[in-house]
Amino acid sequence: MTRARRIAAFIASRLASVVLTIAGATLLLFLMVRLVPGDFASVMLGPRATPELRAQIIHDMGLDRGMLAQLWLFASHAATGNFGEDVVSHRPILDIVLEVIPNTLALAFSALALALLVGIPIGVIAALKPGSWLDSGLALLSISFITTPTLVVSVILFLIFAIGLHWLPVAGAGAPGDSVDRLRHLILPSVALALGWVGYISRLIRAALLDTLAELHVRTLRAYGVSEYRIVGLYALKLALVPVVSILGIGLGDLIGSSVVVEIIFARSGIGSLIFNSIAQRNYPVVQACVVFIVAFYIVANLVVDMINALLDPRIAAGRG
């Protein structure tokens, strides 16, 4: 098989597993929502609803049907992108979710990009001279980034740069259509979200680099006079990125989780704040739709991670990695 065909087969097999995983996660979510005490009808109508009205609503929503029938109804509609109508705003739930998703994606990806752009160089510098004062200083910095909760970082950044210095806007996601304004609104939340990851990534890169530098192929490069900077920053780094990228895939769930906190503090609309508000209102259909999207995002992100790793390390695509 040629390399292109092998990579195509690799991607196809991963895509098949993505479809299965989304289906499984949706089923689990469906069952979990039904295990939560209280039913949708009483949430919608309040405690003084008449039994007739309750029965009517339950019938309209299909909640009087069997579990399997309900599951089929939900899954078949969800598969076509129909998550029903929101009982609070009477708008399609899909529209509500799609409206906020770009905000969350912008936040998550800018935080991730920031974490990589800052974290990788810190890790590389630390690995160049292990045990030096610079290495120890960067370790201290990284660990303090990791251990400071996103909540605390958010509040500190918010107080200093938004309220104290007035450099950056206080709240919101910026005026729609005004990309400069939206970018300015993105800075503080993404720094807050990225900081812990800067610490993680730099520590991971340092450890993976030091492991890689002990391997024999590095000695070959040294024997042929390749400079230490090229060895660390290019030849060892590409190998060291593989475990780091794998961990990033798992960590993306945490990134979305932390974005709930950041979105609330900076009053940004986004999937995090939507979930938070919907839970407060017991608006489970919206929560359910949001979680389906987060699961899909998480799985697609991990697929991308696998593909990046297959590009970084050809042995993975060959099934030997």
Binding site: L216, H217, R219, T220, Y224, K238
Partner: protein, 329 residues
């Protein structure tokens, strides 16, 4: 231009104390010749190679030693003394070809890296052509395709050819081959040795072949040096040493080789093999007298007291051995 190494001494600091891995080892290799450095595991043969390259582990220290390579003198006690020679005046072929290439870069990229240093200023196209040419010279089939392949797509023997191509591209004055065939199939051994000889003849360099196999030395080398517990016990041309080993250790090493025409018993356990009994002396505390005294079969009282110097053996000018029996006229 001959290569010479003088009085190389290397210490390793270990938790249990300082191990003297090499004590005053001197070697000479003529241009265009191959010197076989033989010795058992732990004798310090690879330490010689890495001290020359300046690639010793962090806990190793060269306490004494100078080298003359390509007409220049180097004080090996200085860290990275020979750094300027790596990839230019010196090249190395390693023991384990499965591990000595970076798994996530193509063969072409790794060969190109050698040329970045050896032929600075050359454009990419020239480098690709030079690398392909080198792969063809070491008889790797389909060189153009190999350039875009990754190490895991090649066999061990093919990977060793790639490393030989790297050495070829760097056109060294000294090539060090550290057990280049040990990790490979016996069937590949002769091919790889042929490529190393081919490289030597093409570039005209001196080759230091580090091996535990006397067979390899007698077949391919011009000269031999025998290393034991960090000391050089004998050196000379292969012919002279083979004809008349000056040191009992060398003689015992030759006796350990099983001749192909030796009579064999039907019951394999009845076959007699020559072994050298005993173990290497403690590298932290050198016993007085001859280093080989504890395992020697012809030692006498003085051997435990007097540390012998290098005495000439026979008529051959370059042949010497470190044995007291040669001192008595």
């Amino acid at each position: 231009m001959a290569i010479s190494l003088r009085d190389l001494s290397v210490d390793y600091s270990l938790q249990q104390g300082t191990a003297h891995a090499l004590r005053g080892v001197s070697l000479d290799i003529k241009k265009g010749e191959m010197l076989g450095l033989v010795g058992e595991s732990g004798s310090g043969k690879s330490t010689v190679a890495f001290a020359l390259m300046g690639l010793l582990a962090n806990n190793a220290r060269v306490t004494l030693g100078t080298a003359t390579i390509d007409g220049k003198n180097f004080d090996l006690t200085k860290r990275n003394a020979t750094a300027a020679l790596r990839g230019r005046g010196m090249a190395m072929i390693f023991q384990d070809p499965m591990l000595s290439l970076n798994p996530v870069f193509t063969i072409g990229t790794q060969l190109g890296e050698v040329l970045r240093r050896r032929a600075p200023g050359s454009d990419r196209k020239t480098r690709v052509a030079m690398a392909e040419d080198a792969l063809a010279k070491v008889k790797l089939s389909n060189p153009a395709r190999r350039m875009n392949q990754y190490p895991h797509e090649l066999s061990g023997g093919m990977r060793q050819r790639v490393v030989i191509a790297m050495a070829l591209l760097s056109e060294p004055a000294l090539l060090i081959a550290d057990e280049p065939t040990t990790a490979l199939d016996v069937t590949v051994e002769a091919q790889i040795m042929r490529e190393i000889i081919g490289l030597r003849d093409r570039v005209g360099c001196a080759v230091l072949l580090i091996t535990h196999s006397l067979g390899l030395v007698t077949e391919y080398c011009d000269a031999i040096s025998v290393l034991y517990a960090g000391e050089k016990l004998e050196s000379g041309t292969v012919k002279a040493v083979q004809r008349q080993p000056g040191h009992p250790y060398t003689r015992m090493l030759f006796d350990c080789e099983v001749p192909i025409d030796r009579e064999r018993h039907a019951d394999a356990s009845q076959n007699s093999f020559t072994v050298i009994s005993g173990d290497l002396p403690d590298p932290r505390r050198r016993p007085p007298g001859c280093i080989f005294n504890g395992r020697c079969d012809v030692s006498f009282a003085e051997c435990a007291v007097v540390n012998p110097g290098d005495y000439p053996v026979g008529d051959d000018a370059g042949h010497s051995a470190r044995c007291l029996r040669l001192a008595t006229p």
